[in-house]
């Protein structure tokens, strides 16, 4: 299918184009970048489910038996949508720089490759390769004070996944193929399967991140420019989740069930820890970072409960988290641009100067705390149900605490920053305009659509789940 090839190569072509286009006006350049970035989304929308089954299989390096094998299934499609939907939005608040646009496009190409890779060696190559553009995005546009955040991020990621190469090789020597589908059938029975599985899980856990592997997260999220933070939180964390769905669950189903209690314990701890840490923050970027961490761990709770219901909920939450966190970080960046600070205590009563921004932020905040009628409510409910159906129902209220905590920290931030006593403004603030509203509109629509009529997404998620389970 040529469509997949076009989808894969077009970001790289755009990256080259944007670095050489002879246009000096920064405004036009930005418009071109944003315009270009919608092309993959348009391809996706025009093909939609026709893309499922698209296949590129090229014998790339026969000597190493690595095939350039990309294949789209229902699961890939969801993650492709997330990637192609979020990137244009993140570019609208990007710093104006050719290099930045090129890096984002390279990242997009690598992500499309990663989410469709059907060869485990290729999967590993994309997995590691996507770190480089992110490293540069964090490092080159960071704030001055976070001088080591990018390197910390890179080293954390590489250290987490370095043994994955050994694990991939050991699987290879058991089956003499890197094909993900064929490996899924034998991975459980290879010698040292537990060790190999643990290595894979470590890599995915660092990237997601699962509870004790999150030390890189606050610094990286805060150091990155706002659009980089969106890429990190909405897309990169999904790479870890995709890894668990694509490799973790089909390859090592027994292991997941065996380690279920431990993994569940860690992820629930992560949910609560993230929520408590968010509560303690005095900086809204950090607050959102911890809130994102808490929600990602919620997704992981869904993945580690061994039931289709929970997995469906997790896939739905993956989409929801990407949408909501993008909205929140975008609002945060608008706010930061006006107020020139990210400290919660230094601002007060912003609602009276920036009413539109305030109401839009409030909308995303309500979606984030899973108010009924918004998308998070659906996904979280499914995961709660699944957890309750397990033989450990008492964990459900414990996890339920996170809802209360998220209401506390989110609304407290809203109250302090937006609705406190209004300090006299030292300059004229400009509220968000129609253009910014237009950018936020797709997010709002998605949140309400999934919240009110979730059936299409649920059936898509079930299809995706069927696709990975069929692999076994």
């Amino acid at each position: 299918m040529p469509d997949l090839l076009i989808l894969f190569t077009i970001p790289f072509v755009m990256a080259v184009l944007l670095s050489i286009l002879p246009i000096s006006s920064e405004k036009i350049l930005k418009k071109i970048a944003v315009g270009f970035s919608t092309i993959p989304l348009l391809i996706l929308l025009s093909q939609h489910t026709h893309l499922v089954g698209a296949n590129i299989d090229y014998n790339w390096i026969p000597t190493l038996s690595i095939r350039f094998h990309l294949n789209v299934d229902a699961l890939s499609l969801i993650f492709l949508y997330i990637t192609c939907f979020i990137i244009p939005i993140s570019l609208t608040i990007a710093p104006v720089s050719r290099l930045f646009y090129s890096l984002v496009f390279i990242l997009q190409g690598l992500l499309i490759g990663f989410f469709t890779a059907a060869d485990l060696a290729l999967f590993t190559i994309f997995w590691e390769a996507m770190l480089l553009p992110l490293y540069f995005i964090i490092n080159l546009w960071r704030e001055k004070k976070h001088s080591s955040a990018a390197m910390q991020f890179l080293i954390y990621m590489i250290a987490g996944s370095v043994f994955m190469i050994a694990a991939v090789l050991s699987l290879y020597f058991s089956a003499t193929t890197f094909d993900i589908k064929s490996l899924a059938t034998i991975a459980q029975n290879v010698p040292h399967a537990a060790l190999i599985g643990a290595v894979f899980f470590l890599a995915f856990a660092v990237k997601a991140p699962l509870f004790p592997f999150h030390a890189w997260l606050p610094d990286a999220y805060c150091a990155a420019p706002a659009s980089g933070t969106i890429l990190l939180s909405a897309i990169l964390s999904k790479a870890g989740i995709y890894g668990i769905l694509r490799v973790g669950i089909p390859f090592f189903p027994m292991l997941i069930q065996q380690w279920g209690p431990v993994l569940l314990g860690l992820s629930i701890t992560g949910v609560l820890y993230g929520a408590l840490a968010a509560w303690a923050q005095n900086d809204f970027k950090r607050l959102l970072a911890y809130s994102s961490f808490s929600h990602v761990n919620f997704i992981l709770v869904g993945l580690f409960i061994w039931s289709d219901l929970a997995h469906t909920g997790a896939i739905i939450q993956t989409v929801n988290h990407a949408v909501v966190i993008t909205g929140l970080f975008m609002m945060g960046s608008y706010l930061e641009r006006e107020i020139k600070t990210t400290s919660i205590t230094e601002m007060s009563g912003v609602a009276s100067f920036l009413p539109k921004l305030c109401w839009l932020t409030l909308f995303f905040v309500l979606a984030s705390v899973a108010v009924p009628g918004t998308n998070n409510f659906v996904g979280e409910l499914l995961i709660f149900l699944a957890l309750f159906n397990q033989n450990i129902p008492w964990l459900t209220p414990l996890l339920g605490l996170s809802i209360i905590l998220s209401v506390i920290y989110m609304l407290q931030w809203m109250k302090k920053s937006f609705f406190g006593p209004a300090a006299p403004p030292d300059k004229n603030y400009t509220d968000i305009k129609a253009k910014q509203m237009l950018v936020a509109l797709p997010l709002v629509i998605l949140i309400l659509w999934i919240g009110i009529y979730p059936a299409p997404l649920i059936s898509t998620a079930q299809n995706a789940l069927a696709a990975i389970m069929e692999a076994k």
């Binding site: 390096i61 190493l64 190559i125 480089l132 080159l140 390197m151």
Partner: protein, 482 residues
């Protein structure tokens, strides 16, 4: 045996003969021409190009006078071409270098060509004596090249150090060869495995293994493998940049060519003890070099440690053996040499301080001084770091695959762990290149010859990353034929 050499035999060794003619001409031009600077560089490049073409068309000789001493097999041809490419790259770098540092040039190219003959002799040696002559031809030229700029104090120190340690290494190597000869009565590679298998007494086995140990140590000096590496940082830091480039590619590849010829072609898997010993060399080399490289502040010295750490990775397939060991070694060498040349081409642009090593800080903001050079340096460093999607990752992947196949898990784990460190120190420099903070802003003077090397290296790295199978097929062919 006493038959005269025919035209075919002469043609068979034509690459070396062409180089020999070329170097004599260079010396004559330098001595008698009024303006030698105009002629020596084109003459050198012409010589190298003709030798390269000749290497593709050279017939195979079966004259006993030649085949006793040199091999006409695919690995030999591969090394010949590889070395001529390295020679071409060095010549182009040197041409630019001499535009910045004014000194006489003829001797430089003469020495470069003679060291290339030495390298090629190593690559095609069929006898320990040819190998030794090759190594000595290479080394003696290099001793002089190290101290080539007479006014640089640091270079004097480097040259003396290199000479003393190199002479010691040569002595050790020669002693080893003598012991091997004493044990099996021959120095020919073709008879080596046979000779070893027919050793009957323990005394002779001991003699042979001692000889092998000394040969290994001698070659380890040349390849700068811990604990025989101490010369490398000082010599790299003190030599002119084109010489350092030549040492970190030519000498490194030459030393590993010798390892390949002796231990994977002549004596494949002859004794597990040797593999274990090489593994014992690989651990400290990888660990030490990667840790020390973290703290380097100067570029040439940094590349010395980077080179040592890559030598450590190259030892992994040697220690593992197995059918793919040779292919993975050659592929790694090609990737390493290409990326190193790209990096040194960039360094040449920055090299205008008298004899001092170049601070890593001077790379700050290179991308904004020259986006082209910044990108090349960045890509080459990421290749050396072994990060995907560059070919460096595939090279490391192949090496680990070979080690895995031989159940050398400990080496894989140490190698992987240390490659995390290497990611740190390489990307730190790449980060500097793209950093916007207080770097120099003056634009760099264009150096066309060096740019040629940089572009060639860039294309090489990209081609190796996108379609590695191209070169892997050629290497596989060598591996099968051997």
């Amino acid at each position: 045996m006493n038959q005269l050499l025919t035209v075919v035999d002469i043609l068979a060794i034509s690459p070396m003969l062409i180089l020999l003619t070329g170097l004599v001409l260079v010396l004559l031009v330098e001595s008698f021409s009024k303006a030698p600077k105009r002629y020596v560089f084109p003459l050198t490049v012409a010589t190298l190009s003709i030798a390269l073409i000749a290497s593709f068309y050279a017939p195979v000789s079966d004259h006993a006078l030649l085949t006793h001493w040199i091999r006409f097999d695919p690995p030999g041809e591969f090394f010949t071409r590889f070395f001529i490419f390295i020679g071409l790259g060095t010549a182009f770098l040197a041409s630019s270098f001499f535009r910045q540092v004014k000194t006489s040039e003829g001797e430089y190219y003469f020495l470069l060509l003679s060291s290339l003959i030495g390298l090629i002799l190593i690559g095609i040696a069929a006898d320990f004596l040819t190998l030794f002559i090759g190594l000595e031809t290479l080394s003696i030229s290099l001793y002089i090249l190290c101290g080539y700029i007479k006014g640089w104090k640091l270079s004097h120190e480097a040259a003396i150090k290199y000479f003393l340690i190199g002479a010691l290494a040569a002595a050790i190597l020669l002693y080893g060869i003598a012991l091997i000869y004493g044990a099996i009565g021959t120095t020919r590679f073709a008879l080596m495995l046979e000779g070893y298998k027919h050793i009957s007494t323990t005394a002779h086995t001991t003699l042979f293994l001692s000889g092998i140990a000394l040969v290994t140590a001698g070659l380890a000096f040349k390849a700068a493998i811990v604990p025989f590496h101490a010369w490398a940082p000082d010599v790299y830091a003190g030599s002119p940049t084109p010489v350092t480039a030549f040492m970190s590619t030519g000498t490194k590849v030459g030393a590993f060519a010798a390892f390949i010829i002796v231990f994977t072609i002549a004596l494949p898997n002859f004794h597990p003890l040797w593999n274990q010993c090489v593994a014992l060399l690989a651990y400290p080399t990888i660990v030490f070099a990667n840790i020390v490289a973290l703290r380097q502040t100067h570029l040439r010295r940094f590349f010395a440690y980077s080179g040592i750490s890559h030598a450590g990775f190259l030892l992994i397939p040697l220690a593992s053996g197995g059918p793919d060991a040779l292919s993975s070694l050659l592929f790694y060498l090609v990737v390493y040499a290409t990326a190193t040349f790209g990096a040194f081409a960039t360094i040449t642009f920055l090299d205008h301080h008298e004899g001092e090593d170049i601070s890593i800080k001077s790379l700050t903001g290179l991308f904004y001084r020259s986006p082209f050079l910044g990108c090349i340096m960045g890509i080459c460093l990421l290749t050396l770091a072994g990060l995907p999607p560059t070919a460096g990752f595939l090279a490391k992947f192949y090496i680990f695959k070979v080690a895995f196949e031989a159940d050398n898990y400990a080496l894989v784990i140490v190698g992987l762990l240390m490659s995390v460190l290497s990611v740190f120190y390489y990307t730190r420099i790449v980060g500097l290149i793209f950093s916007k903070e207080n770097g120099e802003r003056e634009s760099l003077s264009p150096l066309w010859m060096t740019s040629t090397v940089a572009i060639a290296a860039l294309f090489g790295v990209i081609a190796l990353s996108v379609n590695p199978e191209m070169i892997l097929m050629a290497i596989q062919f060598i591996n099968r034929r051997n």
